[in-house]
């Protein structure tokens, strides 16, 4: 039997969750808390196996509460249950020490499975949110740089474009007509295989072209 601490500022939701979880043979709700202070106190007193934590609490963000919860109950697993579906929150929650991330709108379908997985020592993240996290882990293939193959002018123009100068500014700076600037830019970007300004900026960042003046 695993003990669970519910932390959510919504009493009705807590009641519903208690009903749902207590119905499971292997789970029981040991306590409830509605803000982070009470949560830390309860966690220290109850030493639950799992803390089900909402990210938006009344007085402070659930994210900020994670580290103190971990010190209060070091062996407790922390599962975040939240409305927020942005991977930024997922990243921050995991960085703070959470073991799982479940969306409230999937509470009915996934919650039980997620709790069991986290209790087993696994990491559970809502499937819709894992993609972006994983993409970051994939090795970024830096394209073979044909930077050196560009002409002097093309390079000058591209560096200024990447630094955010307007076409008019570049034209005055390099003493060219705006049309010529556009030509150099298009040609240079074609040679580098870049499809947009943002891609060019990213390329310039990767090749350290933005730093020096």
């Amino acid at each position: 039997m695993s003990s669970i601490l519910l932390v959510d500022d919504h009493a009705v939701l807590r009641a519903g969750l208690r009903l749902l979880l207590d119905a499971q043979p292997d789970l029981h709700v040991a306590g409830e808390a509605e803000d982070s202070r009470a949560a830390v106190a309860q966690a220290a007193a109850l030493q639950p196996d799992l803390i089900l934590l909402d990210l938006s609490l009344t007085n402070c963000s659930g994210l900020a509460a994670i580290p103190s919860l971990r010190t209060a109950a070091p062996q407790a697993r922390i599962l975040v249950l939240t409305m927020h579906d942005d991977e930024g929150y997922v990243r921050q929650a995991l960085a703070a020490g959470a073991h799982g991330y479940v969306l409230k709108r999937a509470a009915d379908a996934e919650l039980i499975a997620a709790i069991r997985a986290v209790l087993r020592g696994e990491l559970y993240i809502h499937p819709a949110l894992t993609r972006q996290l994983l993409e970051e882990l994939l090795p970024q293939m830096p394209p073979a740089s044909p930077w050196e193959s560009l002409s002097e002018r093309e390079r000058e123009v591209l560096v200024l474009v990447a630094r955010g100068y307007t076409a008019a500014e570049i034209a005055t700076r390099l003493n060219l007509s705006p049309k010529t600037v556009e030509t150099y830019r298009t040609r240079g970007m074609e040679k580098l295989g870049l499809r947009s300004r943002a891609a060019l900026v990213q390329f310039a960042l990767d090749h350290n072209l933005l730093t020096s003046t």
Partner: protein, 492 residues
Amino acid sequence: MNAGATKQHLSRWTSAVWNVIGAVNIRAKILGIVLGLVALMGVAATIEVRLLLEQTLTNQTYERSVAVARDVAARATDLVLMRDYYELFRLLRDTQANNPDLRYAFVIDSDGTIIAHTFGSGFPVGLRDANTVTAHEHHRSVLLTTDEGDVWDTAVPIFDGRAGIARVGLSLVAREQTIAAVTGQLLITTIMAAAMGITAAALLTWILTRPILQLVELAKAVANGDFSQRARRWANDEIGALTDAFNTMSEALAQVERERAEREQMRSQYVTQIITAQEEERKRIARELHDSTSQALTSLLVGLRSLADRHRSPELKQQVEDLRGIVGHVLNDLHTLARQLRPSVLDDLGLAAAIQRYVADCRTRSGLTIDLAMPGLNNERLDSALETALYRIVQEALTNVIRHAHATTASVVIERRTDRVRAIIEDDGCGFDPASLSGDGHLGLNGIRERAALLNGHLIIESAPGHGTTLYVEFPLPAPPEERYEQHSVGR
């Protein structure tokens, strides 16, 4: 035709002269006039005086030469008749002593022999025949030009010609000296008058030009938008009136400018308030949807799940399942609505996360390729008003790209530097002519410009039909508060 040519000639000359006169400043003009007048007066007076003097002196010498000659002739009569040549000679010498300008005097007897003369040695050749007089003439005078200057030579018959002729020559050299002296005096006077004239003219031009130059400075200041300066009123003349008029104008302009600035200030305050109120309201509604309504619906979901778990009837289970489906949908819709109103990410996680999320949404919604780069904008937060403005600007710009551009690729670049942050939204679509953008009906770009201006930023649109569109929005950032120094003193 001839008259026309003359006229043309004349106008060419006039314009040439005017070019010279017009090119120099007032001081030179006045000095030129004064100098010219003084010089003209001086020269005219000198010439006039010289002529007059010459005539008067010549006449005087002539009259004296007649008088002296007649005196000599009268006194010489007895001496000639008595042939007292010694006394005659003394008479001539006395006469010469009494008249310093008497060049010479001599007496010729009726035979034509010179019987007495004042020339010490040798009588000049030809002098005797240079002038003569007949017996019944009163006198005869001739102006002789000698190598010692002009001489009035007068011949008077003695004792009606029976005792010969008396001749005297009065030199005109003194006349030349007097004229020269008077001319010199006149010249000195002219130069002194010119010097005084120049001083007076310089003073006059200073008095005249000082207020004018001051007005010129003031006009320049006004042209540069500085309405605070006032011209000093120097005199009660026309320039004083001009100064007054100018000051009144500056005052009026300053007043207009103050009112304009006040109105502008009030307007931007209102707009800021409206925008802030709108954002606050959206934030409040989004939070409400998120925190209360969604939570309640989540409770419903969980409750339905428990209900399904506790009952065995498949019919009921199915109904509960359907209900759960509906609630799930509503929950999703609410969530989307809240995010569209104002994404909580923007407040909780910052601009970068919010933009990432928004761009990702746009990609799925529109099928457009949208590249995103945010150099320098890691997880540091910017001022929240600035973050909101940048988020809304990117939102409006991308909405425009999707609605108007027919583009295949768009890109969003947000670059943060130490002193500024710049957002660039670019697409490769159809483009438009930014100059043709009218104020009414189109809130998007004008809204961007307005939002930018409220935070001291500005918008640049580069677009042309067929060449895509690029929006540059730049905001200045306040200088970082000496972070490096503080860290150093803490010792980290």
